[in-house]
């Protein structure tokens, strides 16, 4: 394209006999392998009330409509990079929600005791990043999708200790699956010199911010029990090495 433009310019100015300087774009090919590190935050409301047979939604009873605060990270290995990139990774997070217990005699919130739902979401995602617009045309948006196997240890505390009701422990592990769709904004576009410096100094090839929507189905693949499924947004910062 630039060559054509130069030729046009050349013809227009009639300077055919002069030396032509051809400008070449500084294209650095993307390596086929790499790593991704992401840090993310968000809020989520587990769909506890979706469990069949519940007379009420205990999450709402205790915590109201308030969300759990989620924070986590994910590392991924890029094992194919050509028309986009395929990766496999491991993610870990933490989310908690505290609220007063309910005094049985008055059915009012306690003023001196709290209960908490604490979850540690773990995921094994396989992801595809469509980075062709960025790598070939410099458009700094990279959409991506992921599918993941989920495992979430969970715990309920009351008065600072694990809550036990009739000998049944308020802790366990839920399995499930999840899908994620998001888009990353490549920060390199803001300052190419800073981006180069970052690559030379730390090995970080690209950095980006992202927003993604998560569809997590955490109910032991349909088994009736505590349902920790959630639909939620996360936002974060990512680095590609």
């Amino acid at each position: 394209m630039r060559g054509l433009a130069l030729l046009g310019l050349l013809a227009a100015t009639g300077a055919g006999a002069q030396t032509v300087v051809q400008v070449k774009q500084d294209v650095v090919p993307e390596p086929s392998l790499g790593f991704i590190l992401e840090l993310k935050m968000g809020t989520l409301v587990p769909r506890v009330g979706d469990e069949p047979g519940l007379s009420s939604n205990p999450y709402q009873t205790i915590f109201g409509n308030s969300s759990m605060i989620y924070g986590g990270g994910e590392v991924a290995f890029i094992y194919w990079h050509s028309y986009g990139a395929l990766s496999v990774g491991f993610g870990a997070g933490y989310a908690e929600k505290y609220a007063p217990t309910i005094v049985q005699s008055t059915q009012q919130p306690s003023t001196s005791e709290k209960t908490a739902l604490i979850i540690f979401p773990l995921r094994l995602p396989v992801g595809y990043r469509f980075d062709v617009p960025w790598s070939r045309f410099g458009i700094p948006f990279v959409p991506y999708v992921k599918a993941a196997l989920l495992a979430t240890p969970w715990k309920v505390t009351k008065g600072g200790r694990k809550e036990i009701v009739n000998g049944e422990s308020g802790a366990g592990l839920k399995w499930g699956y999840g899908f994620t769709g998001g888009v990353a904004f490549v920060l390199d576009v803001l300052s190419k010199q800073m981006s180069k410096d970052l690559t030379n100094d730390t090995g970080i090839r690209h950095s980006y911010i992202f927003a993604e929507y998560n569809f997590d189905q955490l109910n032991d693949f349909g088994k009736v029990g505590l349902n920790l499924s959630a639909r939620y947004w996360t936002f974060g910062l990512g680095f590609e090495f």
Binding site: N57, S110, T157, G159, L173
Partner: protein
């Protein structure tokens, strides 16, 4: 430079080096501590023997005896004070040594009650006192070599404390919970307090005195202590005492009452609503291995297609 001058210069240098090498160190026998603290239960007990070690001091530069003493003054002087400097007590001399013949030795034994500041004038062992005494050592020596003026070399790295002042009681706040009461402690700003003792008793229905149960002690930095296994809807009285570093107990306790109440956390609410979850990690059946297998097959298929 002539050889004689070089030799003289070397001697001067040597002398200056030697003049910086003198020292006296003190330690308590069998202990690496430099501060020993005693309370009323220890007042008549002997303090561990004070030992000294002199270095670089000999007949060549010493011009007096080494003296060891215990003082209630703010700092060690060049020599023990025999007049009153601490409310009527002279320093307690615990040894005099000739460093031309010995370089190490043990001081005389002394008891806590012998120390300056722990006197009958101040009430002795039973007095309400908190005194810190320094163990001092001093010797006159010629720092600049033969013929120079004698200066004092002192050591004062050991301290003996006698504390007979009870700490203030803590400030407590009770959190009444399900079958338990959490005792929260607030600092009373007494740095000597090392832990709190907690007691509880059901409030009696009649005028009989409460029957307290000892719940143990908790470090002053821990902030709170739960008293578990209590009966809901029963009012309890809780007492907490401060205990300092030498086991002085606060004269009065902090005292408060609370009534534990049965309550539901999220797990109890879930079960009350008819939740099927039973907890634990055994609820997955064969689904997880199956899902993992599918994932592995998908990845393998993709790689083969490449």
């Amino acid at each position: 430079m002539p050889l004689s001058r070089r030799a003289g210069l070397a001697l001067v240098l040597l002398a200056s080096t030697v003049s910086h090498a003198q020292s006296i160190t003190l330690n308590f026998s069998g202990s690496t501590l430099t501060l020993l603290q005693y309370g009323p239960n220890d007042c008549t007990n002997p303090v561990p023997i004070v030992q000294f070690t002199a270095s670089g001091l000999s007949s060549a530069n010493v011009c007096g005896s080494l003296q060891l003493w215990v003082t209630n003054s703010a700092a060690c002087a060049d020599a023990p004070v025999t007049s009153s400097s601490d409310g009527g007590t002279a320093d307690l001399v615990i040894g005099t040594f000739d460093l031309t013949t010995v370089s190490t030795g043990n001081a005389n034994s002394f008891r806590v009650s012998d120390m300056p500041g722990v006197t009958s004038a101040s009430g002795g062992c039973g007095g309400s006192i908190d005194v810190k005494n320094a163990v001092c050592a001093s010797v006159q020596f010629r720092s600049a070599g033969v013929g120079s003026t004698c200066n004092a070399l002192t050591a004062s790295n050991l301290t003996v404390r006698y504390d007979n002042i009870p700490p203030d009681p803590p400030s407590i706040n009770l959190l009444a919970q399900d079958s338990q009461i959490v005792v929260q402690f607030s600092s009373n700003n007494d740095p000597d307090v090392v832990y709190y003792q907690v007691w509880h008793a059901p409030v009696p229905a009649n005028d009989s005195p409460p029957s307290f149960v000892f719940d143990g002690q908790v470090g002053s930095n821990s902030g709170s202590k739960p008293i578990m296994g209590l009966t809901n809807d029963q009012e309890y009285i809780v007492r907490a005492y401060s205990v300092d570093e030498v086991l002085n107990l606060s004269l009065t306790p902090a005292e408060a009452t609370a009534t534990p109440l049965a309550s539901n956390g999220f797990w109890a609410e879930y079960k009350d609503a008819g939740g099927h979850e039973v907890g634990g990690c055994n609820a997955t059946g064969a689904a997880v291995p199956s899902a993992l297998s599918v994932l592995a097959v998908l990845v393998a298929m993709f790689r083969r297609r490449r």
